[in-house]
Amino acid sequence: MEKKAVSQLLTAIIMIMVPALAHAGPSIFFPELKYSFGSVSQQEKAEHYFEFLNKGDQDLVVEKVSAS
């Protein structure tokens, strides 16, 4: 094959691979990262649920959740 054809073929292969690589894998998404309870009295226990979604194309594993 002549040089120009080879480099065009390689470019085409890379252009197809890059988007595929960029999207492969799990993707964690939280629509809400902060929450304020507002004014709370000392005797209240405040609770909240943060929702999240796997926007990726492979299984998402939450390995650990730690609090300050």
């Binding site: 004014s39 405040a46 649920y49």
Partner: protein
């Protein structure tokens, strides 16, 4: 329904967070870190904030109220079975921390042992300091009071 730890593509999950406001006052903030196998976002930080109102210390109360609920769960129960510095930290520190209701430990350490013993046992009239001795309606034995006197007098 996805479990917290394992989500297929498109599945939703929830992280449950609780914040206990007991013993806190004013603006507080808590962060939670979520570690996952997302290669582009391996750690996500969630933030919770609140403003804790003090609903418990609003009106002046008789000093001995501290031995009843709800006051005793913060001011007395934490000290059960403790002596010395641990007892001081559980029962005394909250009010005697510099800037709050009572004398700081450095000022108290300059008082004679007899004075400290009497004040802890009998309290100080017309102040928020109650008598802590069992004979005065308080929770502490003579030995526990003695351990507090020694702790206060011990040079740092």
């Amino acid at each position: 329904m996805a479990s917290l730890s394992h989500l297929k593509p498109g599945e939703k999950g929830k992280i449950h967070v609780t914040v206990d406001a007991a013993g806190k006052r004013g603006p507080i903030s808590k962060t939670v870190q979520v570690f996952s196998n997302d290669p582009k976002q391996p750690v996500t930080t969630l933030t919770l904030t609140m403003l804790v109102r003090d609903a418990l210390h609003i009106k002046p109360q008789a000093a001995a109220k501290i031995f009843e609920q709800p006051c005793s769960s913060c001011h007395v129960e934490q000290g059960r079975g403790k002596t010395g510095f641990e007892l001081f930290r559980a029962d005394c520190f909250m009010c005697h921390n510099a800037g709050t209701a009572g004398l700081s430990i450095s000022l108290m350490s300059k008082k004679p042992e007899g004075y400290l013993r009497d004040v802890i046992r009998d309290g100080v009239e017309n102040t928020p300091m109650p008598g802590w001795a069992r004979g005065k309606g308080g929770p502490l034995t003579d030995a526990e009071i003695e351990s507090l006197v020694k702790t206060i007098k011990k040079p740092n």
